[in-house]
């Protein structure tokens, strides 16, 4: 069933064109940073999936919330149980596209600044998101980086006032993926 949805996603991304090029990774890195007056909290997830279709400039990302590793066990527990409720909402996803499809010359090595817009779903809540990023093409592989902020309140995540000084209202998300061409 999972494969069916994956193939469906690939087909939808292809949009009917025959020579479309799809790039994929299952080892993307997503870093979450909360910088509040009292403390800085950072967590890393190294198993994000990403699919990019260079023909349509569409892309999809998905991560498992429980795969974020924190330095402190207590913070990881609170993050999962109190804020993200990751047993109920195990995934976060982003589905979108590069705004200006001509911004990247997929056939030529180089580093291209882009803006990506789409739907971000976190904690079961979907919001429109636009983020700046960089696409780097080198010898047939594609790297994508982006750093943006999200307001936790936008995704229905409540921070109790007792820890308001410890957790930022806007957290920074950094995405770093190396994509390889999908042979299927």
């Amino acid at each position: 069933m999972q494969k069916f949805f994956f193939l469906l996603a690939v087909i939808l991304l292809v949009g009917g064109t025959v020579n479309a090029q799809k790039y994929f990774t299952r080892a993307g890195k997503v870093t979450f940073t909360s910088e509040a007056p009292v403390e800085k909290i950072e967590a890393v997830n190294q198993s994000a999936t990403a699919i990019l279709d260079t023909e349509s400039s569409r892309m999809e990302f998905a991560i498992l919330i429980k795969a974020f590793q924190f330095e402190k066990a207590l913070m990881q527990e609170h993050f999962n149980e109190n804020y993200m409720e990751s047993s109920t909402y195990p995934k976060a996803t982003f589905k979108g596209q590069i705004d200006d499809a001509t911004a990247v010359n997929w056939g030529k090595d180089g580093s291209y600044p882009v803006t990506v817009s789409g739907d971000m779903t976190i904690h079961g809540v979907t919001q429109k998101l636009t983020a700046p990023g960089t696409i780097t093409i080198k010898e047939g592989s594609i790297a994508a980086q982006s750093t943006f902020t999200v307001a936790v309140a936008d995704y229905g995540i409540e921070i109790p006032s007792v820890v308001a000084e410890n957790i930022a209202k806007e957290v920074t998300i950094a995405v770093d993926v190396q994509l390889a061409q999908l042979n299927k």
Binding site: Q2, K3, Q46, S47
Partner: protein
């Protein structure tokens, strides 16, 4: 009166001690972690592929000892090792991310060899993903 102050102080010290302990509580030691479920990579993958919501209820956050044949091993630039176990599915498997906080007897695995890895189940994207894995001998 003296006793009240004495016990009050004692309680405050205990409370502060618990607070400090919780704050600095270490991550669970995966070598010693009790296995909740032992299952083959194929069965685990099938459980998620067939009914993800139900599999999430059963396996999320559980310490799972998963057995299977190594399909692929990768190492990130930061040194994180991932062992993908064959699930019977052509494209996707069970990815076991080796624990960065544990000492490992080895981090080299050969494609085709049978292993048992124990880790925490985080769910399924395209593959089922286990983090903080250690090898079970």
């Amino acid at each position: 009166m003296k006793n009240i102050i004495k016990y009050g102080l004692l309680l405050a010290v205990i409370g502060a001690g618990i607070g400090v302990y919780l704050w600095n509580k270490p991550h669970e030691n995966m070598d010693r972690a009790k296995t909740d479920v032992q299952i083959s990579a194929g069965e685990l993958f099938t459980a998620f592929a067939e009914n993800e919501a139900q599999a999430n209820e059963i396996y999320l956050d559980k310490v799972i000892a998963v057995t299977g044949k190594v399909r692929e091993v990768s190492k990130s630039p930061e040194g994180l090792v991932k062992v993908t176990l064959d699930s019977g599915d052509e494209m996707f498997g069970v990815i076991c991310q080796l624990d960065e906080l544990s000492e490992h007897q080895r981090t080299e695995f050969q494609p085709g060899e049978s292993v048992m890895l124990k880790g925490k189940c985080t769910g399924m994207l395209m593959d089922v993903v286990l983090v903080r894995c250690v090898e079970v001998k």
